[in-house]
Symmetry: C2
Subunit: 477 residues, 2 copies
């Protein structure tokens, strides 16, 4: 006989067939009703035990977290909340779970506590729902790009370059930590290190992705990236996943179209495929927000917000327009912003982005054409020679979720910019080659995947949307 | 007017419509025929220039590698080999390519030369075909698992543990390389390092994947893994991608079923979706092998071999049977093996695996039930107390492509094994928790993704199936 999953059984009609299922006990009520879960769905299947026919010592072992193998008949449920249930004919305890020591009890645990037990936290409804949605988003991303003619590529994690410029890097090494070999000048001799030179963990696959876009046309990466920054916030990780599409012959307007279409598509995917998990998280967030003052609550519930994104156009606003709006805004005039906006050229802070998205436009916003001197070296300079063809997509509650640009395709302009910023040409000779041989307009962006998961699940701490978060002073599990 | 891709144009019928296309010149013959490629397909579109109507200086700029923007009429082709071609009405050079210096000329380049120009090598047929197939395999993997109820999970790259036991590790650090801080005993004080302890790059996500399998049921990882081993071979990388499914309530037999079904499915996917690229690589390999002595040629052509895998059952053979076969084999008796097989317990070498697959069974082989002392600590001990429920899938030409096992689910047996191997329980407390709370039979395997790509493309050096290979003394690009 084949074992069924809980998801399969719950989608079936009652029959007199004998079925088999394996899973973990969520609760055991009245010595009679087992709520069994196997991760295939948020929902448990109710297994009804006629306790008079079972050994008492066996029944005592049916505790939260225990693994069971159950056989029985799938019948119409007498109780509310489910169509079918199992009348148990045989029951085997595969693995016990001592109720005295098992950390995950059938009660509300704090997210802090669950982070310390991250290896067990997907045994709760909240975290299993988050991780199922995360998996669906991951598939939606691959599906979107595949269906739109993109090729997935694997850019390296280990880089011999530190010119990517997106942030602080981790060094990777096999040299002796205490007594590294020294060269004739008394400096560490990285020639003896594994890669024959100093090597770091990548902060972005973009530059390598550009090489493939300039031959395969449309490519994307989806992999880990790293930041050695000492940021202990609810939005930063030392290790996180990025999605980076890169497209030849596409300009900034096309890049904005792509980002918007892509974001809407993956959010529509989970709205369609993860209804139960989203309903659960929608209610969870609603209940959580009830405890907050009115002003801190979201104006929309989770699912409403996701539908709003999927169905409405993103507002496109130039940096210059945004500065005007901010300068004349109430919080700026009343000095409520921590960083007041006085003039063109200011770098926008999270408070400004959130004002634009949440108060002013009340929809996702794409800011574009930023001042050149607050953006990266590879961004396409506009004819005004002051701004670059950069864009950031800002989402309510999250702030920046996507950052991208049209890339500087002109060899001379790029070289000048690199010289200005002391980026050695020898390090990026291959990147410059793309501008020497068959250069063309091209663009791309980076999406912080965990931020998308936060947005789609309503979780407010990035540590709660990745299985084992890496942050300063923390690499547990 | 919208720009079309070459793939779109080649699938259309001739019409008098004016179309637009952008791409790179592969060749320009007789001052008249441009073969244009944009990466959307292996095939070029022929663009016919009536040279009398174009400026001579413009025509001189149509060189291999130049980026063009072409407008024209899509007409029935006069020549052979294509259904349609473009009669060019307007032509713009977006980016020149100096024929004196451009490394990728329309001639045969050695793979060694192309490795040094890895940023340009996907501008050749071979490497663009390889990378399109690689992308298709990646999607096939996500599709297979999603359709079969698996959840994708992201296991950490950075690990605070060095107990995974699959190989040498890279240390990652932000400490000063030359003068690291020392503690009171004069040892490096890793408490001051970024993560507050010594941290390494992962060699496998398996142990973490087990934690999710024991709550979500069926999970898989697909991400980078690292080995700091000084192996300069055509089959090893310091950074490579692994696919690691892990399934609760599945035993070794189920694991073998899963591995076989999975491998057949992803190979069938590329046979269906990548016909042109496979035809090209099939011919390439055939031509390459013609230069080899008969005995070194593959018995099957590439596509034939892929179809063979997709359509035939893998042979399942216990280690003990395999040893008997090998002991009595011709190469063993005639002392042709480098490592002769004398007794049960010997570790199998590549030469033995290839003999079994290529000479004896002539089909993929799954070896199982290996001696416990040549396998990892987490593998399920059989009742004979000599063998463990391990399995390796061996493919022709590649050798081991998948390695997996049923995991030891019994707390006491696992603890004894760890004690035997001096693996501290404190390091893997969370792994042991899985055996304390609701333990159950579970299994999984790891697939080296680049080895699968080698197999599917007929490439013989692993450096040629990853964009930017990382190997000892090499982290270029």
């Amino acid at each position: 006989m084949n074992t069924s999953t809980v998801a399969e059984l719950l989608s079936q009609d009652a029959s007199s067939q004998i079925i088999e299922v394996k899973g973990w006990v969520r609760t055991f009520r009245a010595n009679r009703f087992i709520a069994l879960n196997d991760g295939s769905t948020l929902n448990n299947i109710q297994c009804v035990v006629d306790f008079e026919n079972f050994d008492e010592t066996l029944l005592k072992r049916i505790t939260t977290g225990a693994a069971l193998h159950i056989k029985g008949e799938l019948v119409e449920s007498q109780g509310k909340g489910q169509k079918v249930e199992i009348v148990v004919s045989s029951l085997e305890v595969l693995g016990d779970s001592d109720p005295e020591t098992y950390p995950i009890q059938p009660k509300k645990h704090s997210f802090e506590f669950l982070r310390e037990n991250a290896h067990l936290r997907t045994r709760t409804n909240t975290f299993s729902a988050v991780m199922r949605i995360k998996s669906a988003l991951s598939f939606a991303i691959h599906k979107y790009f595949t269906e739109n003619g993109f090729y997935n590529m694997h850019t390296p994690m280990i880089t011999g370059s530190d010119a990517e410029g997106a942030g602080e890097m981790f060094r990777i090494t096999t040299l002796d930590a205490k007594n590294p070999p020294l060269d004739e000048n008394g400096e560490v001799n990285f020639k003896e290190d594994f890669f024959g030179k100093e090597a770091n963990l990548t902060v972005s696959g973009q530059l390598e992705a550009e090489t493939y876009a300039m031959s395969l046309g449309k490519v994307y990466t989806f992999g880990p990236t790293f930041r050695a920054e000492n940021s202990n916030t609810s939005r930063h990780l030392a290790e996180f996943w990025m999605v980076e599409p890169e497209v030849a012959f596409m300009d900034l307007a096309g890049n904005m179209d792509l980002a918007e279409d892509f974001m809407k598509s993956v959010i529509a995917y989970v709205l369609e495929h993860n209804k139960e998990d989203l309903n659960f998280l929608d209610q969870r967030l609603f209940d959580e927000e009830k405890t907050k003052p009115q002003t801190e609550r979201s104006p929309m519930r989770l699912i409403e917000k996701l539908k709003f994104i999927a169905d409405n156009n993103f507002k496109r606003v130039s940096y210059t327009e945004a500065i005007d709006i901010l300068r004349n805004s109430k919080p700026n005039k009343k000095k409520k912003f921590k960083y007041l906006i006085n003039e063109w050229g200011a770098d926008l802070q999270s408070e400004h982005e959130r004002f634009l998205v949440e108060k002013h436009f009340k929809c996702p916003v794409i800011l574009f054409d930023y001042p050149a001197n607050i953006k990266a070296f590879y961004m396409r300079l506009n004819d005004d020679e002051k701004t670059v063809r950069a864009m950031d997509v800002l989402f309510p509650g999250i702030g920046e979720i996507v950052g991208g640009s049209q890339r500087e395709e002109r060899l001379d302009v790029l070289k000048n910019k690199m010289a200005e910023l002391d980026i050695p040409e020898e390090e990026l000779w291959w990147y410059l080659d793309l501008r020497k041989y068959g250069t063309a307009v091209h663009s791309g962006f980076g999406l912080g995947f965990e931020r998308l998961v936060m947005f789609a699940t309503g979780m407010s701490n990035i540590r709660d949307v990745i299985p084992y978060p890496r942050t300063p002073q923390n690499a547990e599990f």
